[in-house]
Amino acid sequence: MLRIEKRLAPASSKTAIAGAAALAVIAALLVCAVLFALQGANPLQAYASLFSGGFGDWRGIGYTLNKAAPLALIALGTIVAWRCGFAYLGFEGCFVIGAAAATAVALAVVPDRWLAGVPFAVFLPICIAAAMLAGALWAASTGWLRARFGGSEVLMSLMGNYIALLLVQYLVSGPMRAPGGLPQSARIPQETWLPLVIEGTRAHAGIGLALLAALLVWVLLRKTPLGYEMVVAGLNPLAARNSGIAVGRRVLQASLLAGALAALAGLVQVLGVQYRLLDGMSGGIGFIGIVVALLARLHPLWVLPVALLYGGMSVGADSMQRATGVPTSITFILQALTVLFVLASPWLLRYRVVWQSPRAAAGRPLGERNG
C-alpha cells in the first residue's frame, strides 16, 4: 500500500526541488482551471493564450523582456541586501526615487537646460549615475539608521516606502507637474529613450542592463573578497566582526548597492516604457521583485529566468484576459496561487511516498518510526 511518511531531512537534490515547484505550478493551474470553467471560459484555451501571450511570438517576448528587466534589477537589489543580512523591503521607494531622478535628468536634455543637446552616450551614464545615487542614498539612510541606532530595517523600510511614494506624488502634483496638468511630469525628450533592441518589438535596452547587473552581482558575491565579507556579515555578524570584517560598513555598502539597483529599475521603467514620471507607477513592483528574488533562492543568476517567467506570466495573463474575457480577478488569483504554492512546495520535500506491503507494516517494531 502507499504510505506517506516524513523524511529524516528534507530532500535537497535539485531535481526534487524543481519537481516540487513544478507540482506546485500545476496545482495552481488546476485550481484556476476550475475557476475558468465556472466563468464559462475554456481553461485550455485560456492557458494556451497565457503561454503564447508571453512567449508565443516576438512581440510577446518583447513585452516579457520589458517586464522582466525592472523585476530582475529589484530582485538583484534584494539579493545583495538580504545576503548581507539587511532585510530591506524598501524597494518600492527606491524604485520611484530612481524614476524621479531619471526623469529629472532626462528633462534637462532640452534646449536651455543644463544637459541641452548632449548625445545619448553622454546622457545615459549621467542619468544612470544620478538615479543610482538617489536610490542608493535613499536605501542607505535606512542602512545607516540600522548601523547607527540598531532599529529594525524590515519595519523602517516599510515605513520609508510610504514616505517615498508620497514624496513622488508631491513631485508630480507640484514641482514636476507638466503644464496643463495631470499628476504626471512632462514627457521626456525622445533622444533620451532607451533604444529598442529587438526589431519589431518593444523590447528596450533595459534587459541588457539587468543582464549586466546580474553578472556583476554574481561576480561580487562569488568572486570577490568584498562579496565574501558581505555574505559572512549576513550569515553571522558577530563572527564577522570578530574576524575583522567591518560589518556596519558592509551593510551600508550593501544597502547602497541594493538601493542603486532598485533605482536603476525605476530608470529603466521611465526611459524604456513610461517616458515620464507618474503617480503610482511602481504599482507594487518593489514587492514583486522581492518575491522574484526569493523564488530564485537569492541566487543572482537564477533571478533572470525567474523574472522572465514571472514577467511572461503577467504579460500572458493580459492576453489571456483579452482572449477569454474573464474578470482580471482570476488572473490575480492565478498569479498569487502560483507563487504561494511554489513557496509552499518545499513542504512537499519533507515527505515521501513509499510503497510498502501491508505485512511489512504490521511486522515493524513499535517505536521504530522516523522522527
Binding site: K223, Y228, N236, L238, A239, N242, A246, G367
Partner: protein, 525 residues
C-alpha cells in the same frame, strides 16, 4: 543492587548522515547522582534530549519504575517529573524570574505570579539558592541564571533532573554551590543525571558514570575506586595525559602594553576599569576571574571589537581608534568564547571558514578577486596541520563537533602567524582528548614567540598554561601573579577572584604594574 528507577534501553537516533545514538543504555536509581561521559559528539546531549522529549528515538524503550514511558514532548517529560537544564539556558531574557518559572508551570490554568513568586522563595530557601523572583533574567549573572533553571525544575516537582554540562560556565565557587544543591536534591530522593567533560567533577559528585563512545554505551562504572585516567581511557580508548609541560623559556621583548583600559558592557555598565599590564613575546598571560567580571570585555577591547578608552599598544604602536580589521592586520588574532556563535559561520563550509580573516590575503589584484587555488590549499593545510576531522573541505562547519570546530578556529587564527593571540575559553565544552590538542597547540605557539592572552574560567587551565596570571574582579585587575606552580598561589588567586584576597599591597602592586613603563616591565622578570 536495586532495580533502576529510570531505564533507557537500546536507544537509536539517526540524524541525516549521522547515527547519534546507537543502542545506548542508561540506568539511573532513585537518589543517585549519575554522570554521563563521552567525547564530543558521542551522543550524550542527544540521549538526554530524547529523555526530555525534544527528540523522538527511532528505536528503543524507556521505562520509569518499570512502566514503559513515552515522552512525545517536553510537556510529557515534565508530567513524569523529568526536567532538564540545557547547556544553553532556556530563559526568556526579558521576563522576570517568576515569569520564567510560571512559563513552564503546567499545573494551573490561570496565571498567578504572586503565588509563583512565593513558591520560588520557598523552594530557593529550602535549597539555599538565593533568587529574587522579580529580577529580570538579563540582569542576572550566568551562575544565578542557572539557579533559576534549577528552581524552575524544582517548582514543578521534577524528580529526575538532567543537567547538560552545567559547570562549563561556572566558577569554582559557583560549582561548589551547585554541587551542594545537587547533593541535597539527591538525598531528598531525586535522581540527577549530569553530563560533563570534567573528570574530577565526576569523581567528586557522581556515584556512577555511564560512558558513551560514538553513540554507543561502552560501560557504566561506579566512581568509587576509579580515577581520571581510568575514565579517560574508557571514554577515548587510549591513555590521555592531563598535564602539558610548559618548558622554561626567557620571554622576548614587550609585545603588548595596556594602560588605563576601560569599557562598558551591552547595558552600558562599566565592565572594565583602568586595566593595565604588559606582555612579552613567548609569554602567556592568564586572565582569571569569576565569569562576568570583565574578562570578555577585556578580550574584546584588546582586539577592538568593543569600543574602549585608554591605551593599547602593540609593539609600541598605539591601537586607539583602530578597528578589528586593522588590529588584525598589525598582528593580533582573536578566538572568542562562543565558537558557534562568535567564532565561525555555521552555514558555510570548512573551506570558507578557513578563509575568514584571510580573505584579502588569499586574493589576486590586491583584494579584488578571490584566489580559489590558494584558498583551497590554505584550507587543506589548516585541516591537516591541526587535525580537524572533517568529511571534506566543503562540509558545513556547523556540523563539526565542538572539538573539531575549535581546532578549525584555533588553526585559522594561528596560521595568521599573530604576534598577539587573544583567546577566550579555548577548551570550554571540549572532551579531554580535544583539550590535550588545544593545549599543545597553544604551548607550541608560545614557544614560537607569540604573546598570548588567555581568558579562561578554568583555573587548572590557567595554571597549566600561563606564565603570569591576572585576576579580574569587578572590572579591575585585582591581582597579578607570577605562576610558580605553588599551591599557595592557587589559593591566593582563588581568594582574589572572590574579591576578598586582594590585599591592599597586591592591588597596589597591580596598579603600579599597570603603569609600568617599558624598562620596568623588563625588570619585573
Amino acid at each position: 543492587m536495586a532495580a533502576p528507577w529510570l531505564h533507557m534501553r537500546g536507544i537509536v537516533k539517526r540524524f541525516p548522515g549521522v547515527l547519534a545514538n546507537d543502542d545506548a543504555h542508561l540506568a539511573v536509581r532513585r537518589g543517585e547522582i549519575h554522570a554521563l561521559l563521552g567525547e564530543n559528539g558521542a551522543g550524550k546531549s542527544t540521549l538526554m534530549q530524547i529523555l526530555y522529549g525534544l527528540y523522538q528515538a527511532d528505536a528503543g524503550e524507556i521505562t520509569l519504575d518499570g512502566q514503559p514511558l513515552t515522552v512525545g514532548s517536553p510537556a510529557d517529560a515534565m508530567a513524569h517529573g523529568i526536567g532538564m537544564v540545557h547547556q544553553e539556558f532556556m530563559l526568556v531574557r526579558l521576563f522576570t524570574v517568576a515569569e520564567n518559572v510560571a512559563l513552564a508551570d503546567r499545573q494551573s490554568r490561570t496565571l498567578d505570579l504572586a503565588a509563583v513568586a512565593a513558591r520560588i522563595t520557598e523552594v530557593s530557601q529550602q535549597y539555599g539558592l538565593q533568587i529574587d523572583p522579580q529580577a529580570r533574567i538579563e540582569q542576572l549573572p550566568i551562575g544565578v541564571q542557572q539557579r533559576v533553571e534549577i528552581v524552575k525544575l524544582l517548582c514543578r516537582d521534577a524528580r529526575i533532573l538532567i543537567l547538560d554540562e552545567p559547570t562549563a560556565v561556572l566558577t569554582a565557587g559557583e560549582k561548589d554551590r551547585l554541587f551542594a544543591v545537587l547533593r541535597r536534591l539527591a538525598s531528598d530522593g531525586c535522581a540527577i543525571i549530569i553530563v560533563t567533560h570534567k573528570l574530577h567533577e565526576i569523581l567528586e559528585i557522581a556515584e556512577r558514570v555511564t560512558v558513551m563512545r560514538a553513540g554507543k554505551t561502552v560501560g557504566c562504572v561506579p566512581t568509587a575506586g576509579s580515577s581520571e585516567a581510568a575514565l579517560a581511557r574508557l571514554m577515548v580508548g587510549r591513555d590521555v595525559t592531563f598535564t602539558a609541560p610548559r618548558p622554561v623559556q626567557t620571554p622576548g621583548p614587550v609585545v603588548l602594553q595596556v594602560e588605563d583600559l576601560s569599557t562598558t558592557d551591552e547595558r552600558g555598565q562599566q565592565a572594565l576599569r583602568q586595566a593595565g599590564f604588559c606582555l612579552r613575546a613567548g609569554e602567556i598571560l592568564g586572565i582569571a576571574g569569576v565569569d562576568g567580571n570583565g574578562q570578555s570585555e577585556l578580550a574584546e577591547a584588546l582586539v577592538g571589537a568593543r569600543p574602549s578608552s585608554g591605551s593599547v599598544r602593540l609593539h609600541g604602536r598605539e591601537m586607539r581608534g583602530l578597528d578589528t580589521a586593522s588590529r588584525r592586520a598589525l598582528g593580533m588574532a582573536y578566538i572568542p568564547a562562543d565558537r558557534r556563535r562568535a567564532g565561525a559561520v555555521m552555514e558555510l563550509s570548512v573551506r570558507e571558514n578557513a578563509l575568514l580573516g584571510m580573505q584579502n590575503l588569499l586574493s589576486h589584484l590586491a583584494g579584488l578577486w578571490r584566489d580559489e587555488a590558494r584558498i583551497s590549499a590554505h584550507a587543506q593545510r589548516l585541516v591537516e596541520t591541526f587535525g580537524v576531522r572533517t568529511a571534506s573541505l566543503s562540509f558545513p562547519a556547523g556540523k563539526l563537533s565542538g572539538g573539531n570546530l575549535q581546532k578549525l578556529i584555533l588553526g585559522r587564527e594561528l596560521m595568521l602567524k599573530p604576534q598577539l593571540l587573544v583567546v577566550e575559553q579555548p577548551t570550554r565544552g571540549l572532551d579531554v582528548g580535544a583539550i590535550e590538542v588545544v593545549w599543545q597547540a597553544l604551548l607550541a605557539e608560545r614557544q614560537k614567540g607569540t604573546a598570548i592572552v588567555l581568558v579562561s574560567a578554568e583555573l587548572d587551565e590557567i595554571l597549566t598554561l600561563s606564565d603570569r596570571v591576572a585576576v579580574l574582579y569587578g572590572g579591575r585587575i585585582a591581582g597579578l601573579f607570577d605562576n610558580d606552580g605553588s599551591a599557595a598561589l592557587r589559593e591566593s588567586i582563588g581568594l582574589c577572584m572572590a574579591g576578598v584576597g586582594a590585599s591592599a599591597s597586591q592591588a597596589d602592586a597591580a596598579a603600579n604594574q599597570a603603569a609600568l613603563p617599558e624598562q620596568e616591565c623588563h625588570a619585573a622578570h
